[in-house]
Structure formats: C-alpha cells, structure tokens
Subunit: 158 residues, 2 copies
DNA sequence: CAGAATTAAATGCGTTTGCAAATATCCCGG
DNA sequence: CCGGGATATTTGCAAACGCATTTAATTCTG
C-alpha cells in the first residue's frame, strides 16, 4: 500500500522510519530539553525567550536586537517584549546605537549576569544528562556535524 | 572577569562558546527547520501540531492520544485541539479504545494520508538541505548519537 | 468489593505568540 | 539635497498555547 504511492523515487517517511529521521529525533530531544529547562526556570520568573536572551548576552556583547533575535532563536516581536521585561527587572539595558539611531544595542547588567549564572547549572545539568555515556570523540564529531548543518541552513552570516 | 566567577569547576558557557554548545546549535537548526516548514505548510492550512500529528500517524497505526502527544512532541491539550481540527477536516478519526473506554485511539484516513504525502516533499527538501554535503557515514554516526541521546532523556519507553 | 487513588482526554482561562502594520530613521539615485 | 525605498524596532490584534481543572473510567488496597 505504502509502496505503490512512491513512484517518484523519493523515499517516504515510512521507509526511513521515524527513529532514523534526524529532524524528528532532534525535535524530540530538544522538545524535552526545552520543556525541562522551562520548568526549572519558571520558578525564577524566566520564560524561554528571556533565558535565551540572557544566555546569548552572557557571551556576546551589546548586539543589535535583530542580531540577538537570530542568536537567541526568538521571533523579533517576541524578543522585543521579552526585553521589556528584562529591562524592567534590571537584567539588561537597551541603548540606542551610536551610529544608527534606528538601532538598539542590548547590554547585560551585573544583575543579569548573576541571573544567568544562577540558571546555568540547570542548563549544564540538562546538557550532561543528554550526553551521558557518549565518549568525547563522538561528541566532537556530533558538534562538527551540527556546525556544518547550521552553515547549510542559516540565512544570515552569523 | 568571567574566570573569577567560576570557582566551582563547572565550565561556563563562555568557555565552551555558543558555537560549540550542542543544545544551542540544535535549537538554532531546528528553529529554522521548523520555521521554514511552518511557512511552507501554512498555505495548506496545516499548523505545526497538525502536521506533526499527521506525520506520526502516517507511520504509527492507531496510537493512544497520550502516546501520539509524546511521538509528535506536542502538549496533550494542544494536540487535543489539533485533533479536533483534523477530524473536522476528515484527515483523522478518533475511536474509543476497545479495552479501556477512557482512552482514544487515532487513525489516519485516506484523505489524511494524502495530505501528509502532499507535504512530505517539503519536509524531505528541508532535510536534504540540512544535510547537504554531509557524507553518508557521517550522517549515520550523527543519527546514532541522536538515538543515544533520546534514550538518555526520554521519560516514556517509546 | 467499596472507596481512594490513578489515568485518559477535553476544556476553561489567562498568557504568549507571531504576523502584519505602524513608526522612526537611514541610504541611495538623480 | 530631495524623495522613494530599505532597514530597525515596536505595537495591535487575533490565534495558539500551556497550565490547571474537570469529567469519566479504571485500578489498586484494605
């Protein structure tokens, strides 16, 4: 029944099998990783967009908002509102770009950095659990493949 | 500055680097994969939960709704409403389980299968793009690592 | 075997999301 | 150096989401 349908030569999902289809596995894994983090961080008043913004800002200094949206994997309109909250809580500061007054750069504050550092152990724990029993060389190969994939699909050059 | 903070021995995100942190890369990649699919499928009246349910149902026959929620990586309440729509459009059918009248099994209809097969080329194309230039053995190793990871983090045994 | 505890699915409800439009600024060609 | 088009961010709004609760049925326990 399934076979007759694919005259085109394109293998179907049935032939591949859900458990061998990389995007499916990645969604399953990240679904749980993110849900688990969200539960951990809800107590700290941090939504997913807020924590992602903080995480990126802990590493990248004073990006433009549109850049932050890409790095943090958050829609720009959602990010805009998340930044409202973070600014209200004193975790970040918005500052108009020196050379372009349309644009806004975002800085993490000391309080913001402390908030990120308070949540980092949760992220690290989720990461450790995910890679449990996977040897170092396999991890490296995995990350290398991910980097290639990101290069394949990203639209911006960062 | 960053160094002084980590007396604990846990490497910080700064030391690892965003671009080497696997969960970050996976979120970046899946963020774009999912956004791109969503845009493709919006025209067909399919939301992400609806398309995921259909995709799983094209491969797994008559699961319980709670199983489908796990496989499809959709909250149960969201899935319940997505199934309302899919049923209204004749793409699936709900049927009370024979042995447990609390439970409901979900069947894909012929129309539903056709709808999935209409969208599959989009998914396959996104997949192909993602793995562009990655040799077969590297892909296999990558999927094997993903399978280990899923085993590490899943709460149910499916 | 009665009642408590558990499990499956649906639903109420406040919050969040994302698209599209609005606003403000900048850049480029003529 | 003026006006049209591009770019950065915010905001309006309707739809979607997720938590917690409800309803219904099953299973466990004393």
């Amino acid at each position: 029944m399934t076979d007759q349908r694919r005259i085109a030569g394109l293998p179907g999902l049935g032939e591949i099998g859900l458990g061998n289809f990389a995007p499916y596995l990645m969604n399953r894994i990240m679904g749980r990783y993110n849900a688990s983090l969200r539960a951990d961080l809800a107590g700290l008043g941090l939504s997913t967009p807020k924590m992602r913004a903080l995480a990126v800002l802990s590493v990248i200094d004073a990006p433009l908002i549109r850049e932050l949206a890409v790095y943090a994997v958050v829609e720009q309109s959602t990010l805009s509102r998340a930044l409202d909250q973070l600014a209200g809580e004193g975790l970040i500061q918005r500052e108009t770009d020196a050379g372009d007054s349309r644009a806004t750069r975002v800085h993490i504050t000391e309080t913001g950095r402390a908030a990120f550092e308070a949540m980092w152990p949760k992220m690290a724990a989720a990461y450790a659990r995910m890679f449990q029993g996977i040897p170092e060389d396999e991890r490296r190969a995995f990350v290398a493949t991910l980097q290639t994939m990101l290069g394949n699909i990203r639209k911006h050059d960062f």
